[in-house]
């Protein structure tokens, strides 16, 4: 379980400028301590459960505009989970993982070398 592959992709879109940036963190590319931290953040985020909870109780159509949108894809071993959240209503359990991924350098769009 500890060595199961873990990879997190976050696409941030929207905002006033409407730009799209993509960031990727793969446990395989990280030093052991950082990889452990990533696995912990992923476990705490519980994206699978989050997807379920958001489907059952979607956040109220928020007021506000020009906020960032985050499309989060978590690969855990064979499983892939996806959730879309927006600034102003990011679930608390997801915030630390998003904050960690935000520190990674921008990656090329999916499908390109290095992406």
């Amino acid at each position: 379980m500890e060595d199961a592959p873990v990879r997190v992709e976050v696409e941030r879109s929207g905002g006033f400028a409407g730009m799209v940036t993509r960031r990727v963190l793969d446990a395989a590319d990280l030093a052991p301590e950082e990889a452990g931290e990533l696995r912990r953040l992923v476990a705490d985020a519980d994206v699978a459960g989050l997807t379920q909870r958001l489907a059952e109780a979607p956040p109220a159509a928020g007021r506000g505009a020009d906020r960032f949108q985050y499309d989060v894809t978590v690969h855990q071993g064979e499983q892939v989970h996806h959730v879309t959240v927006r600034d102003g209503s990011v679930p608390a359990e997801l915030q630390p993982l998003l904050a960690r991924v935000a520190k990674a350098p921008p990656a090329p769009p999916a499908g390109q070398p290095g992406g």
Partner: protein
């Protein structure tokens, strides 16, 4: 305490007005005292107008001098993302502070208020004198500005990709206009209705700039966010005149906005591409303005403003419905089918690929 007080120009119960008088800033105290001594007929007219508007009738013309001045407060978030703890750095009537973000936000809110009041007789976001709150220095190198449903929030930019988000008055106008839209048609912020929402903010943001500069439609640059991209002062985020040409640089790539329906982007990013597809109605507004000529805020802006307030403009409206309603609006303003003005609007939509 002072931050939680809402519009003094609204009808307030006596205990709240009393709290303002006792605990508000000198500015708020003065305004509260003025409100107390203002003719009560004004406030009942405003209340009546709110009801009349909500039921689809024509509001009364108040014929009073009240309204017409903004009530601005600028808060400094001190690089946190916690507006609740932000400190007031500039109150209405205070002189310049020397901090660029603070003073640009203050002036931008004033310019935006002025467009809406002078040209459209709208008293702030809710047309009842809602105080305007701007929060600056939000976050650490935060590359964004946004409307949170009650106030406008501005980041400093990271300095590498973006400069501070108060750098252009149209950005301030854009954010404040989201509040206006929320008080009127409440266009849902995704897909076509969201792109309309975005476009309306760009339209009135641009008009704020044009009105402040006294520019004719043909002389305006029609750019949104000019000067925002670090290192490329002549580029901008969006062009209403030529969508897809606003920026082209190694940092951000190339502007991908379409200007016609043939370029409409279907995506799940950005709430269905609201900042991308806004290029289409943006371009329509540019074409209406230049087809008609003169100052864009006069007729073109009035058509758009009346459409925004039309009860037939529903939150889920698509481009085509909006276009149809602009034709109704131009007719309501006295320009019949077949007139050059009506034709200007119809042609503009046709040019962007929407036939009405």
């Amino acid at each position: 305490m002072a931050r939680h007080l809402h519009s003094i120009a609204c009808i307030l119960p006596p205990d709240i007005l009393e709290r303002v008088i006792l605990q508000g800033t000198p500015e708020q105290r003065e305004k509260a005292l003025r409100t107390l001594s203002t003719d009560n007929a004004l406030r009942s007219i405003r209340a009546q107008n709110a009801v009349i508007r909500a039921t689809g009738g024509t509001p009364l013309d108040p014929h009073v001098a009240e309204g017409g001045t903004p009530l601005r407060t600028i808060f400094d978030c001190a690089h946190t993302q916690d507006p609740a703890r932000a400190k007031i750095v500039r109150n209405e009537g205070d002189g310049a502070t020397g901090d660029a973000s603070t003073d640009e936000a203050y002036d931008g809110l004033g310019d935006t208020y002025k467009l809406y009041w002078d040209v459209y007789q709208r008293d702030s976001i809710d047309d009842r004198g809602l105080p305007l709150k701007g929060y600056v220095h939000y976050g650490d190198g935060y590359d964004n500005a946004f409307w949170d449903g009650q106030e406008m929030i501005f980041g400093d930019g990271d300095g590498e990709l973006f400069n501070r988000f108060t750098v252009s008055v149209d950005i301030v106008g854009h954010e404040l206009t989201h509040g206006v839209t929320e008080n009127e048609a409440q266009l849902a912020y995704y897909q076509q209705s969201g792109a309309l929402n975005e476009s309306i903010s760009d339209v009135f943001g641009s008009l704020v700039k044009q009105y402040a500069l006294g520019q004719k439609a043909d002389d305006a640059d029609w750019l949104i966010g000019a000067g925002l991209i670090a290192g490329y002062p002549s580029q901008a985020l969006r062009s209403m005149k030529a969508p897809g040409t606003a920026y082209d640089n190694p940092k951000l790539g190339k502007d991908r906005q379409p200007g016609t329906m043939s370029g409409y982007v279907r995506t799940t990013s950005d709430n269905g591409g609201v900042h991308t597809n806004s290029g289409i109605p943006n371009h329509a507004f540019y074409l209406v303005s230049t087809n008609i000529g003169g100052n864009a805020w006069e007729l073109a802006g009035r058509i758009w403003y009346e459409t925004l307030r039309d009860p037939r403009l529903k939150p889920t409206a698509q481009f085509k419905t909006f276009a149809r309603l602009t034709l109704r609006a131009v007719q309501r303003l006295g320009y019949a089918q077949g007139s050059p003005e009506f034709q200007a609007v119809q042609d503009a939509w046709g040019q962007v690929g929407i036939t009405v």
